[in-house]
Structures are given as structure tokens and as C-alpha cells.
Amino acid sequence: MALDTDKREFKIVGTRPLRPDGIDKVTGRALYGADTTAPGMLVGRVLRSPHAHARIVSIDASAAEALQGVKAVITAADFTTANNSHSQAVLDNCMARGKAMYHGHGVAAVAAVSEAIAKQALKLIKVDYEILPHVTEIEDALKPDAPVLYPDKPAKRVPEGTPANVSHVTHFGHGDLEAGFAKADKIIERTFRTEATHQGYIEPHACLASVSPDGKGDLWCCTQGHYNVRALCADFMGMDASQLRVTASEIGGGFGGKTTVFIEPIALALSRKANKPVKLVMSREEVFKASGPTMSSVTDVKIGMTKDGRITAGYANLRYQCGAFPSGTIELGAMSAFAAYDLDAVKTDGLNVMTNRPREAAYRAPGAPTAVYPVESVVDELCQELGLDPLDVRLKNAARKGTKASYGPTFDDIGLVATLEAAKAHPHYSAPLGPNQARGVSCGFWFNFGGNTSVSLAVNVDGTVTLTEGNPDIGGSRASIGMMAAEELGIPFDKVRTLVADTASLGFNDVTDGSRVTFAVGLATIKAARDAIQKMCARVAKIWDIDPEAVVWEDGCVKPAGDNAGQYEPMSLAEIAAISVKTGGPIAGHHEVNADGAGVSFGVHLADVEVDPETGHTSVVRYTVFQDAGKAVHPAYVEGQMQGGAVQGIGWALNEEYIYGADGRLQNAGFLDYRIPVASDLPPIDTVILEIPNPGHPYGVRGVGETPIVPPLAALNNAVSRAIGVRMSALPMSPPRILKAIKG
């Protein structure tokens, strides 16, 4: 029987059932990273560098070790050398080895019987620093006389003559730029700046580690990917991966920021030394200073357009700083900058420069928002200058099926044109605007990932199903994955329980990132269900004593087919399960895959703003998100991703920024001074889901979560620029910046 087919008619997929973990989360029962304890548990704390850049001459922990109640003190010397340079950077970022690279960099850590004693012990650790010159800003770090972060370790894959702090250089594009610009009626060239922002998850990093003297370890932590935590920590601790079991707690937001480790290896090393469980929780200040914010950027863009709105050539030169360690995020930026356009001539050059700031972690569509913002802003300026409608111009130049993307591949079925048309037809686009108000438009793009995935699906004798997957549920994925299992098996949604397994209970899974989970885990779940169905079909064929090819699976039942049609009563999953132990044993399906075919995603945002000319304050008065989601499995959670991503982008555009002093110290490490949007800052965020099926998924699903953070930066830049009559080119557009622009 042919099972590997696409499906377009659904009973459960596309509905909005209550999420299975919901009651725990509205009653306070759900256990997040900091919510668990172990008998005999110690409290861990980390000593952090007060300097932006300093050589660690010596660390004297003897007074701390002598303090009553202190059970362990560790430094970088308590870890092994990592097995590759990428992992070594992760480890060195957790605990400084030789040099403190940024303000807040971990230098030593203690475990003690109470938090008060741990804090007291930190004060007793004497670190002798030799302060070095520091650099925190992109343009300063690129200067020939800039302080060099790694004078003894020049970057390997950069051309000769590249400034010493540059870790990566990248280029994409095709066609003849010069000829393209020659065809343009109007060319605009402009430089744009963005400041570093933080994912701003409400739950600080937290973990509970226990290493026993026989070398076995258990780690509980809030993470987007516990298999990755296991791989990194086992490496740093010199442990076999099989000896370290990592369990993912419920996770209080991640947005990419919990895809790596910051404190987990420290807690494990403290536990091993103290021979007791150690709980380590970051303070909010530590989260800002020593987890992984996103990049800041400086980008030059040049775009040419004909009078009737055809883009003839596009060029962008992107410079990102991603903190004190090498980062390849610039590639994703250089790839995504022009992705929305079908261009004959396009080129992007990019580089990453290292500075004395915390090591960047992924933040929702990493690299893309800061790359798309300058391009979409210049396209809007061209539309304004040439008197063209910004949606018409985007439709005229939109990437579609068969377009050779600016970063190389040729697009398959994509939804950009449909999304633009939906925005154009929506009442928002033609709604009147008031005084000091204007409307901004932007496209956005994200690649979407697939990746390594393992799923196991057990058919229980009572006719229920236990689905085991290995990706932390950051926004309702247990619901969407359980729905796909129920859909495929033809059983009610509430008969499926979806569990997130620990690293010892299921094969490897990539991190919950790249908008991959509903796509890839969903795909693996459907295949696992089909595996179980095949086994059930074989089982029933055996009972009926007919050929396995002579049965079909329909409506959750095995039915006789062909010549045998109608000769036997169909058997349901529950009936087959009930007698499974007598007909050959337990029935389960599983699937392991490195999923391909994630299907790229496009969105279009419309933003109306009102700018107060006296204060420079911007109010977002209306906002609508249009996005191609592929098949929306649980539309309410798809809308939620679109709304949440848009608001993170609004914060990035209007308020949020890392502020460093001349001393290289972070000046706003708290939610009071780093202000993320609150409910009263915002209007309702309207959503329009388009469902252009992804050919790479049996139900047509594509990733959703990341694309919506990409367009708001330019949508707001364009709206504010039109409202005040001055083109803005730096984020955040905080009131002082806007006032300065208005007053010239």
C-alpha cells in the first residue's frame, strides 16, 4: 500500500484544540529551569569580569575555599580542551581562559550551601587583572590601530589585508552590477546602523547539575536543544555522551538565545568538584551581560530603479559585530538581504568583526532583520522619490517560483506574490491616515531549517498513543505535533500524549531552531505514524490470513481491499491495539531523518505610526502581518508566532539597544533601562495567514516562527520616515533620535 503520499484534506490539522501542556502553565504547575531542586543541593554563583578586556594574571581562590559552607571553586582550568575551535569558543565564553574578553565574562565560580555564602565567597576570590585596551563598536574595531582581540590567532579564511579583528568575510550574488546601475533612472545609496538587542526571554538561564563519583551525570536545564547541551558539556567535561543525561525543563522563552550553553558546564564542573548537586541560575543582569545578545550592524546599500519601478541592480555591504568570538551569522545576513527580489544584478559583501562584547547567540532569524532593514528602507525611499506604490513595486520585482535567489538556489513554490496581493487587497492598506501618521511597508524572509530528528510513537493497548519527540516546546509544538499524529492515525487529538524525551530516551535531535520543529518533527511524526500503520496493516492481514498488500488504511481503520473488499469487518486502531500482545507483540512506529525541504517563508507587514513632533515619540497605531505559513497546523499558534515576532521587531525598531560606555561596560543591563515593548505600547496585531503548501512536507507545512521578526524594522523605518518627512537610517528610532532628525 502506498503510504508516502501528500495529504490536503484534514480533520484535525487546521483546527484550534487546547494545548496539552496548557493547564500546567495556567496553574503554575509547569516546571521551568529554576523550579526544581535536589536533595543536598548547593547554590552556584559566577564571578564575572568588571573589565571589557583584561589579561587574567592570576586567580587566588584560597580565601573563598576556606570560607565555611563553600564546597567548590572552579576556573577555566577545571575543563578539558574542547574537540574543535567552535566548541572551544563556546567553552571560553562560559569561563574566560587567560583573558576576560568583555564586561561580565565569567572568570571563576563557586558552589556553597547558601546563596548568601556563595555571594560572600565571590568577593573573596582575588583576580589580578592586567587591563587591556578595548573596543566595542564596529567602525572602531575595523580601524588599523584598533585594539586586537586575538593578536596571536589571526583568522584563517579571510583575504590578506583584512583588518585583524575580522573573523569572517562573505560574498553572494550574480549578474553585472555596473550594467544594472546604468539602466536605472534613480539610484539611492545610504548607510544604515542597528544596535545590538537581546532576545529578552523572561526566564533567565537556569540549571541543576549532578555528577556522581562514578562519572555519570544528570543535567536539568532550560534550553532549546538538550542534545546540543549534552554534546557540548560532555566534551568540556571529558565525559562520554552516554554518561550525561540532559533533561529539558519547560522553557520560558528562548528565541535563539537558548541554543547554546552559558552556565551548564559551570554547574556540572562545580557538581563534580563538590560531589553534590548544584543549582545555578543567572540573574537578569547576568542575562544581559553574559548570555548571547544579537549583533549590531553597519550596512551600505545601493539600489537602482527605473521610473516604472523595476529594480535594475542591488548592492549591500554589511558589517556585523557579534561579540568577542568568531561568528558566521553575517553569511545569513548577506544571503537574506535581497531574497525577496527577482534581480538580474545583485551582490552582497559581508564581514564579521569581533569586539569586546558578549558572544552573540542566535536571535530569531539570525542575521536577517538587520540585512533586510536597509534594503527594504531604500526600496521604499525609491518608491517615494519616484511616486510609486510600494506594494506595486514589490509585486513587480517579487521573487517567485523559478526565481534564481540572490543567494544562489532557485525558489520552488513560494508565497511572496500571494502575500503581497493579500496586503494590497486588505482594508488596512487603503485606510485613511490622520495628522502626523504614515504607513510603512516591508517584506521579510527566512530560510527555515529541517535537520536531524528522531520520533518514537507507541500504540498503547487501550488505543491511545504516546508520542516521544526530542525538541523542547517553545510555543505550542506539543499541540501541533500531536495533531499531526492524530490526523495521520485517524484518532481523536486527546488520545495522543506528546512528550519531550530526555537525551537518554530517544535518538538525536537538532536544537529547536530555524523554525524547524513543526516542519521536521511533524514530518518525522507523520512518517512514524505511517510506520505504525504499516505494522498494523500487516498484523491485520495476518489475522485475516490475506496478503498485506490486500488491505488499506482508511479513516483510522484497516480495511480489506481489492478482491477481499467487504469480506471482513474493518479493524480500528483501538481494536488492533487491544489484541496486539496476542497477535505478535507491541506496536510502535519510529522515524529518524535529517529532514530536507523546509521551504522558505515570506511575510509582508503593514505598520501605521503616529509620531509626536514635540517629543519624538512614535506610537504604532495599526499593524497587520501577512505571511505564508504553508499549511497552518494550529492556526492560533501560527498567529501567535506572527504577532510575537512582529512585536519583537517593533521593540528592535523603536526602543531596544545595548548601550556601552567609553569604559567598555554595559550601561543598561536590566529591564528598566533596556525596555522591551509592554502591552500599553501596542495596538492589536492583526494577522492574515496564507497557506501555500510546502512541497517538502506531506501536509505542506513550512516554518513560521522567524520570518515575522524580519519586516518590522523597515516597516517602522518607512512609516516614521514618511511621517516626519526625513529618511531615518539608524535604529532604534528612540525619541531623541527622531527629534534630532526633525530638527535637522
Binding site: G28, I202, G252, G475, G476, H634, G645, V647, S680, I685
Partner: protein, 158 residues
């Protein structure tokens, strides 16, 4: 330094504990009483994830000393449902799919309940301003506001 003996009432139950003078109510709830529904998102009163009510007044429990609970009535997320029966706000948050990661939700629910007890018929703007002290980074607040408005309407009708 000797500990302070506190007699208080939490979610209708008499509770006694010993605390250090500098310990917060949030520390005691989470670390001594195993009531981990209130979360520490910032420890500085900026995020609202630790919201509880003290004699009916909405507070960040990270900014209240544990000793201050003496003789008071403390209400936390753990006391919001009546046994198996969820509070209308809890039901509406679920029905509207208004949570993603869920870590801010206990604080939002406690804050919203405090609002509706004072103002059973708030405007959307009033709900947005009342909840401005509760940070949510996942949802953009849209569905949370809709859920609170819907719960308010249902509670007025009940």
C-alpha cells in the same frame, strides 16, 4: 543573625515560616514553600512574573520582604483555580491560545484577576495599561488582552 518568625495566610491556608530579614516573599514562596508558580524574571520589579496579591493589592513578590507578609492574606497563582475548576481567566487564556512559553502567564493571571476584582468592565486600553507591568516576550500581548476582555465579559454575565 536570628531568623524572623512569620505567621501568614497563603491562598486561604494558615502558613508559618522562618525567614532571614533580607529574604523576599518570592524567595520564601519558591525556596521554602515549594510554590514555584511565581517566577523570578528580573528580581527588580520590572517584569511582573512574580506577581501575587497582598491583602488584595497587586505586588511584585520580589520587592516584598518575606517578613512583611506577617498577618496578611497572600494570594498566588497556585490558589487561583477552585480545585479542578479553572478560573475564567485561566480558561480564556487557554481558549485564546494566549500563551506560548507560558512563563509570564502566572503573573499575568494574578494581575488580571486583581484588575477584574476592582474593575469588572475595563476597556481594552485599561487592560493594556494595567498589564503594562507584566512583560511577555512571546505573544505581542494581542491574545492575552483578548482573553482578559473575554473573561471579564463572561464573569460579568455569570
Amino acid at each position: 543573625m536570628s531568623k524572623i518568625h512569620v505567621t501568614t495566610n497563603i491562598n486561604g491556608d494558615a502558613v508559618e515560616y522562618l525567614c532571614e530579614p533580607q529574604e523576599t516573599l518570592l524567595d520564601v514562596l519558591r525556596n521554602q514553600l515549594n510554590m514555584t508558580g511565581a517566577k523570578e524574571g528580573c528580581g527588580s520589579g520590572d517584569c511582573g512574573a512574580c506577581s501575587v496579591t497582598l491583602d488584595g493589592r497587586l505586588v511584585c513578590s520580589c520587592l516584598v520582604l518575606a517578613a512583611e507578609a506577617e498577618g496578611k492574606q497572600v494570594s498566588t497563582i497556585e490558589g487561583m483555580a477552585d480545585g479542578e475548576e479553572l478560573h475564567p481567566l485561566q480558561k480564556k487564556i487557554l481558549e485564546h491560545a494566549a500563551l506560548q512559553c507560558g512563563v509570564c502567564i502566572p503573573g499575568i493571571l494574578v494581575a488580571a484577576k486583581a484588575l477584574l476584582e476592582k474593575h469588572p468592565d475595563p476597556t481594552e486600553t485599561e487592560v493594556r495599561y494595567w498589564l503594562a507591568g507584566n512583560l511577555c516576550r512571546c505573544t505581542g500581548y494581542d491574545k492575552i488582552i483578548a482573553a482578559v476582555m473575554d473573561a471579564a465579559a463572561e464573569m460579568r454575565g455569570a
